[in-house]
Symmetry: D4
Subunit: 252 residues, 8 copies
């Protein structure tokens, strides 16, 4: 139900053109239809500054391009994730305003940097070189949502001293996103050393008993350290979005 | 939001005590609160004739008794599933109107037989002796919801001729619930021989590579025969309820 | 055993050319051979109006074409599922009467629309854009079997208000097919909001801990809502067929 | 290394009793030993106001009592989780200051309520009655860490209207803990309706294909809604602690 | 359909009391009903000498006793497997003719030894002491079916020399049943050393990554040696029965 | 140790050129070295008539060709399995005596038909069209080992009447190989209807919850029918070899 | 074949009582029988100083006592693992020389300390309090085999500083056994910080997505640090034995 | 913190330019920064003689080349694993000093043979032809780290006599690496026959119920033989490195 329809109903009862009983009957199904008029999802995105997101997996370049064209009309900041380089080439030929970032394999549309909407800093920590694309997807997502991001990459368990050396910087973050594949021990180590909440992202980096990232996922879910919550394997976007929601200034 | 509150809002705008704009703001959250006044779930159960259901697992006998006492006040037909004999003894001591059926391990409250609400017959077919409790839970659920039930038990793959011998009776059912553990082949065989839709119920009967009923569950999900849909392991109640919904006369 | 052979046996005993004992011995194995003469499967399909179905997976285009040619001779309505566009091009070059539908990736043979054989409406509800091919396979299957289908796509949990807005239409369906990947929550939500039986179809849409659709499958099997039964991952055809059997007018 | 030892080393070099080179050698291993003197973990808990926690599983009542006696000496607020009623009776006989809360199955030591240390409100939402113990463990943990908690229990998918009715209250929380077993759909629905971050807690409530809570866990990890991170099955404590860390006032 | 009914039909058509067409219609469903008159399963057991078998799991002692009483009337040799000592005590009190064998946890009814029905010898080889109950269940089953059995127990991989020392005896068996838990390597070793077919029985002996016998089961299914087929975990009965069928003299 | 070396040792002690003690020391390690001289594996194959087998998976066409050239020198009958058509083209160009069979994807070397070495008939029964390559691999293996094979393909649960129609032929086999994918119900049905031992072969035909053939595998392992043993998924070769070993005339 | 039989054979050929050909035939099967006379396993244990081991799981106290009595006769040092306190009470009543150690749940027979047979030190490091029984089983096993053991318990990821504080001691071990449950991160951290080989022991300590220790097992198998090998879940005995074999002085 | 900074701090306190208290505060974070100056990881590799290792999976040829160029500058011996032939061609074009070994699919940089750093011999035993690449990766890794390696390939369970024939050579190794796919029985057999510690490497060689090497992995973890520890599937590098660490002369 659109607002005009609701206003009409209320004006009718105000003017005596409809009885209270009839209006109550008309409103009986309002809750659901009224949601439609609220355009909740759209408004939430605009209000909170989160970018519109297109999951590239399983879409043709033509479909991605069409969606981005549509979003560009509305002036939205938009993010398309999991876009291969050849697909990106096709899309950017059709949507010149879109920029392709090859490491996180993402297409971005709209002005950057985004206005700062965060209470503090988001730290993104990753274990191995092969985890960087997922970490960058998280960082990009957080930045597009208006957050300052501190990156600390390649500090896996075998390079623990590097993490320790940067402890004080990381310890000032509002929330830490920790990205790791293989055995997935890094989030436990980070949460054990620092007193900041950790969003853990398992990656599918590994082989054999890694089970496509399941070993790291289980490791993170069973962390004996305080303050660890986990997102899906390779879900850098989800971690970045969660971190952005956690870091959001309340007045927004 | 209760109806009185809605009526008051409308009377206010009708009487000029509130503006249309203020009322619109007040109604903005109406959809959800209004659901509360609709008492949808309760009304649906009363309207459709499905019994109120209490899942006994994880509840103390005292909790089950308390819920049944409450339901008895409202005159509902009620069903408590997965109640052990000792728990049932405690409950029936407190709720004398409740009757315990040891095979499906269920407590029943309210008048039986229920009025007939079905288009046709529901057939309940089971494979082995150990599958009977699950099959009886399905049958009881369907009967309490007002259906005529035809039972055909102990007709596993090793007793296929018995199923064949009763083919014509089963073939007249609106829907067939097929209960089987072990390898779970029976739903495929039934659906292959007859032209009626099958609700398949895997049971946890078996051992070793049965994986607590998972072997039967997977077998049923992969059925190469037409017209098979599956419910959770040992979920006789769910199958009986689904069958009852499928068999329900439309005018109800 | 063909009917002529059976008739001959009976005429022999009628005419005194064979004894009752000999005829009984001859008939001992009749049941199974007689099945052959009944052509049960073929007759069932013709009688019920279900199309002949070819699972395209693992067949060469040549094999699919050969089968469709054979079915076209008999005048059957036929459906080949899971056919890739290049394979379809080869088949349609050989079987010009076959039409290819790229979204459900299906080849169709025979007159459409099929005569109406349903009691009521089948609703097909799907969650995300990527679930549409499976949803369309379900819809196509149901339509070819003579059902009216109401499609409501792209109403996942994040777009719940859209589902609510169309609640009354969906609530009139005889049965609702709900297609969802990722976390597979939609069938539970639909069954919780409406009082109609739900055939749930998990899809393999997702990644990581989605386990190729297993997460959605398990979610649907464990639904706490009443009236949900589940088919195999991505099995739009099976759901459409089950829905058609459930919606079939009894006199057929 | 204790502070006295460090001070002595520095005083020696200051007084000329040791050379810079010798002192550098002595300090070479300092970092690790120095950690010992810092008593980091202990200090962190005291500083942040988090209670000391004892996981009761696998410990004898005597062991739990001994640890609580030790913590009581230091004046710590302490929490022992997963304590059965008989074990609690033994502990409270020895540690009279400990109070047992039977629903979350927890022993608490120290003054309550804890001083308020949170930025805002933590909402704890749960699906079924059987999920309440886990939800109460989360709530208790958050409260002991100095947070205001809003409980909203028994609002599963089948009671969605209740959640909707309380939407505005929940929407004001800094973070929402959502506890659900069975199919685990509730966190997706909550995150889809509200714009607040969700810590999802799967529970082991269910049977069969629930796989001891794994179905709910996978469902939550695959949530298609924005802003969901997940902790281990039945880990109410971990969710409460994560929520408390996320809600902590920065100046603490 | 019982034979009398069939005879009556044929006599009617012989005597001209029924037409050929009517009789054909009456015979249309004969195949399946006729199976009932053939009493296939019962006859097969009697004809082949296999004992009647009662799976004790999930049955009360009273149920087991009732079934054995029934079978004793018919003079069948009967075997009840997976019967605990307390249950056996109750059964033997009611069925004095039943003998309990504590190692294979089986009740036996009927004359022993059974008449020899085998072509040759069945060897039963087992790995560890804890595998003996399963091995004895296999041996007992084979013996009751009329086979000579050669037992060779406790010859796991760590005791390979014992197997080698008895190689020539085992090599004369028609078929070898190999029972092993833990890593399940023994069937591969036996099949690699000897040229006889092996029925492999994984047991649930082990812990941790043994997964209740699944490790041994997978090991056996992946055997790189020629001539290994596998039955369910702990299924000594099934292996004994399979071996007996393979060893059966053809004229039986 | 070759025979000459053994003979020399014995002649030395016979001639007094060596003491008994020295010879005992020299013989201490004999058992293992002597195995080398026995060439057990080679002799067993030659003696039993089983073909030499090359698993084509993971080998280059050049490697397959080299092995076949080597075997051709010795006059062996040889079988290479899992050879793709392009690989086969390369091999046959180098080994003209090798013949490629595209359905079982196998290369064969040596005279056919092999001399009859079986006691009786081996039946190969398969469920769907897509299972035929595995079934043909089993049939080919059995035939090369000197067995008469009766094929009965495409008799899945949906075509049960065809199996029943051919019951008497199949019932005369010494052993029945049953090949099925999807839900894997066929071996249970065959074993339930006939009194012959069944070697069950699950195939990877299917999708989704089929888990690459695991659903069929588990179904077969849990068969409630007597006389079923199982080999690895898609292991037609193993089933054919097992059947050949079971059917082998004892005098061989 | 015992040595007397071999000697007799050789004396016969020496004395001309047997021909070389006959003796060669008699020796043909020697290799395997000769193994019997070598009593390899027994000798290996005596020679290497490893204790005889009895896995208590699945044995009655009477069986354990009988085995220990037997071993006591031979003067062996013996170890029975996984013995519950009540079982131990029964055994020690019968075998007074046996001592029960309640933490590792082990019975020990024979003189202690064992003579030192190690090259260096074995370090046993464990994560949580609940991991101590497994760690003590490893330590006891290593000590009984003649090794000096350095224990460092309760140094999980949350107590990393304690591990670091004891780094230099641990770094002197020949091999480090690391025992951890939950997320199993400790072996990776230890191997990352030190340059010593690590035998990792996952424990079943944990709940939910721990999967009975599988999460820790997978984590350890996927360790990104150098020098980690893994034993079965809770297999303290196996780790202790492996460490002892690795630490053994070569001259033994 | 670099040494200069530490020296300056100490000189300041020595010279009276800083107080002890200020210096203590400055040193508070030293431990972690000091680790940075120690360059532990780099030094450990140089000191121990282990080569620098690059995991080729997931890196472009350009990235591998760049890393090798960097390492070549420092004069390191380097190893890149899992490099495909086309990638190797690109790398060697850019880094002419790198040599490609096609069987282990590895690139090697630096002088060979490496100086001998081992106490004794490392034996590498493998089961089938397809396991050789993994076995060669283990052998190469051990050799680059300065070990003498004895290879014994193609001695699977079906060729057990070959292993036995080479028993005495293998028995002299300090540690044995055993590589096997399929059922993974070989490590158990080797450890059962010999008294040397075994590092077991499961490979992904196999199909169907092999589960990508998981069957072999589980088999090895459950080995009933003494002295077996396991690394990840296909992890030849890890096994070679572990063996090298175990074989390292202590004075290094």
């Amino acid at each position: 139900m659109d607002p005009q329809r609701l206003r009409a109903l209320l004006e009718d009862v105000q003017a005596g053109r409809a009885t209270v009983d009839d209006t109550m009957a008309a409103l009986r199904d309002l809750p659901f239809r009224a949601l439609d008029f609220a355009h909740v999802d759209t408004h939430r995105h605009l209000r909170t500054g989160f970018p519109e997101v297109v999951l590239g997996t399983g879409k043709t370049p033509e479909q991605i391009a069409a969606i981005l064209v549509e979003l560009a009309k509305g002036g939205s900041t938009a993010l398309a994730t999991r876009v291969s380089p050849p697909a990106a080439a096709i899309v950017t030929a059709r949507v010149p305003a879109a920029r392709y970032l090859p490491v996180p394999r993402a297409l971005v549309l709209g002005p950057t940097p985004a206005p700062d909407r965060g209470r503090g800093l988001i730290a993104i920590v990753s274990a191995g070189t092969a985890d960087i694309p997922v970490a960058e997807e998280a960082a990009l997502t957080a930045e597009l949502a208006g957050n300052r991001v501190h990156r600390l990459f390649d500090v896996g368990v075998a390079g623990l001293h590097r993490l320790l050396a940067h402890r004080s910087e990381i310890d000032q973050a509002e929330v830490i996103v920790v990205v790791a594949g293989m055995e997935g021990a890094l989030p436990s180590v980070v949460a054990g050393l620092l007193a900041r909440p950790v969003i853990a992202v398992p990656t599918s980096v590994g082989y054999g008993a890694n089970l496509g990232g399941f070993a790291a996922l289980l490791s993170m879910l069973n962390s004996c350290a305080a303050g660890v919550a986990v997102v899906n394997i390779d879900n850098g976007f989800g971690a970045g979005q969660m971190a952005a929601m956690l870091n959001r200034k309340r007045e927004q």
